[in-house]
Subunit: 459 residues, 2 copies
């Protein structure tokens, strides 16, 4: 017992010593931050962080300390002050909320910023809504969702090569909540996640919120938005626990194609979770459709989590209903936090989704594709630079102008009644912006204004 | 620039020094672990951790380091497993899910375990549901909720003494999500929260999930479920940041009365948030009704967060709709995480709630009160021991039998088709259980079975 007592004293001393060093470190970091701000430099410096990471790895070998513990510790130090709140980037969502506020003041806004189909949900939704009350939907239920809906979705996902049962399905209030649950419950603070940019900002924000270190792979228009094998391999280290893929991609509309095989193979090799966001699956412009990529059941990779949604396929964005497909053990972990935070997903909305599954929504794919065609044509006419999207519902473009700042441009454009999503919301893409393929008449109107504000500003 | 370079070198040195200390610390911790294992002791030691926490807090003041940074760092070192997954207690929710599973197998269950009114939502809900589709509700919107509903709720909460505007209101998918957001976004890991037990388990679980330390105040039937001033004062220390109150109380049905003033005063003195869960406000059995307690606008205490819901007042449990009342700065913080995880609350359900506000639901109070009367009478007749509830919809009781184990009893009772909520879900109350006041016929049937299983088992 006296041994234990002595050891404890020692631990206390060391802990207090570490806190003192933490104080000194924080003070110096602040000084660097101030100096950088004066010089107009950004605060984080990935190269610098990587160099220090290498030194720590080396030291670990010398002093025989478990590397993953040390690197987690290091990530903790790097990440410490990063909360979602600190992020002031303009995203599609922040522009959307500004645009909404302007509308409430009576202004007319053309929404090219938000990923929201501008047609109605199928008629089945209307009928279902009217039935809810008498059928008695609206009680507490399982956090994983009502059995009927889970069964119906399992049947829909089931293929010859794919055994999917109700146990693989969890209903969520939107795919976003599925992404939030996956990142928050499967990863620990100090773990790392890989995000291929440009990317929907929620992956990164959910990770930061959970104290998870984000490693970004930056892809370029020049390489058709595909990362190289080297980029993927370089991003993986001992702390890497998850990689996010999203094809068809928001914002680029690319499908990834063979690339996805490479990513899954790397994930298998390094035992990573693959979070595959497939909410645009129905919006497919390729000649050969339906080529799925992240068939976890097919490739027999049990660490894949797929998120899907009724938002785009059934035009039910604001209903907030989506689902997760994964191994039951993963569903179990995620449903614990869903139960804790929500009890269950709104039962009336689950019933509506169940009925919506009866609808034939293939027409929506055609609508979106013809709008994308129109958008591509106009964008070419006014000289925007982009890779033609193979799917989803967006165009991710830049202009021919040097030093073009899409954030400032989007602010100016909003004053003229057109909202677009600035590229910085998707990563380090200050010169790009995202345009949503909406109804052709409004689209043309919006693009004409965009073109004239662009010329006015830069010519 | 050379300044920055010098600072960076220093940061590197400090970081490597910290890693070395981490190595020493890890080694010693392992030695303690081994020694403890040999002595058959458990690994964690709360008292010890608390003592170290106090030392660190003291040191922070001396060296002027932000406490929350240091305590987070300390939690990282403790490697606290803060995941919800670890808890295996039987709660009203776990019993409810078991009962639901039995029902799906075709068994008949009388639900005395769940806090779910067994009458229908008002007719206005039916009309509203049928209108949603044509009115076009179902789009993305503000994470704080639709303006019409926020305005309507503000008007409803506004009183002569109480200035409440739309800015004080945030809509949530159930009050539970409001509780989750308040605890997760307003507190930091290492902070402390006070929960007065018996209590709804979500407060504690949300805190554990956020790495927040829970201090419980245990109240007893003998003191009419009221904590003493000493108990409150003893629970507050420098790390305390929030106290949760819930009156009328689940599970005891008590109102707290003067007690609440004492708590608010203590909170003001120590600058604590007061999280006041008021979802049972409409279920009031006292002669003099309407005496609110946590009028943050009245008492001018800006750190109060009130959670309310349509679940009980409008019998809309499974719709998942509630709201938060707080200062705009608090709403702002909470809405950031709501936006990140959910985008917005289901818009169709928000519209339904807006219309439900038109209904006169005072009849529901009368229904619940007459059921409580019936429940109290039966419970007295069969010899249960309890304090008569002044509100809410439950009875929290024990039996006259020594060594009575409510968890085992509830398992046995479920086999006989009656579900009750074991006391251990509400804290250290293994001899108690909670019964919900449901429809009188079913209530009598359930209580007759309860009585006979009780006698069979203990006499």
């Amino acid at each position: 017992m006296s041994d234990i007592e002595e050891h404890r004293k020692k631990i206390e001393e060391i802990t207090l010593e570490m806190i003192k060093l933490l104080k000194t470190r924080t003070d110096i970091a602040k000084q660097i931050g101030d100096a950088k701000a004066n010089l107009g430099m950004t605060v984080t410096d990935e190269e610098r962080e990587d160099a220090l990471r290498k030194q720590v790895t080396k030291l670990c070998k010398e002093i025989d300390l478990d590397q993953s513990t040390a690197l987690k510790f290091l990530n903790f130090l790097f990440n410490e002050s990063v909360k979602v709140q600190s992020d002031n980037k303009q995203t599609h969502l922040s522009v959307f909320l500004k645009a909404k506020a302007l509308e409430e003041e009576g202004k007319k806004i053309i929404h090219l910023e938000v990923g929201e189909p501008d047609f109605k949900p199928p008629e089945e939704v209307k009928t279902a809504l009217a039935e809810i009350y008498d059928k008695g939907y609206g009680k507490y239920g399982s956090p994983k969702g009502i059995t009927e809906l889970r069964n119906a979705l399992a049947a829909r996902e089931n293929q010859e090569y794919a055994k999917v049962s109700e146990e693989n399905i969890m209903i969520c209030p939107g795919a976003r909540f599925g992404v939030y649950l996956a990142i928050t419950t499967l990863l620990n603070p100090g773990d790392e996640i890989i995000v291929i940019e440009p990317a929907w900002p929620a992956y990164k924000d959910c990770a930061l919120n959970a104290g998870v270190k984000v490693r970004t792979i930056k892809t370029t228009l020049e390489t058709e938005w595909e990362p190289s094998v080297e980029q993927i391999n370089n991003a993986i280290n001992e702390n890497t626990k998850m990689i996010v893929i999203n094809y068809p991609n928001n914002p680029t509309g690319q499908w990834g194609n063979q690339l996805v095989d490479r990513i899954i193979n790397a994930a298998k090799k390094h035992d990573l979770y693959v979070l595959s966001d497939e909410i645009y699956l129905e919006y497919d412009r390729r000649e050969e459709r339906g080529a799925l990529f992240a068939r976890w059941w097919d490739v027999q990779y049990e660490k894949t989590i797929i998120t899907k949604s009724f938002s785009k396929s059934h035009a039910m964005t604001g209903y907030r209903i989506g689902y997760v497909i994964a191994e039951p053990s993963i569903i179990e972990k995620m449903s614990k936090l869903q139960a804790l935070s929500l009890t269950n997903v709104s039962e009336p909305i689950q019933y509506v989704a169940l009925q919506a599954l009866e609808a034939d929504v293939s027409g929506n794919t055609e609508i979106i594709n013809s709008r994308l065609e129109a958008l591509i044509k106009i964008a070419k006419d006014i000289g925007l630079e982009f890779i033609e999207p193979e799917g989803a519902m967006y165009l991710f473009a830049k202009t021919k102008y040097k030093d073009f700042d899409a954030t400032k441009f989007s602010e100016k454009l909003l004053e003229h009644g057109v909202a677009i999503a600035p590229g910085e919301g998707f990563g380090d893409y200050k010169e790009f912006f995202r345009i949503t393929a909406i109804d052709e008449t409004k689209l043309k109107e919006g693009m004409t204004i965009l073109d004239s504000v662009l010329k006015e500003s830069y010519e």
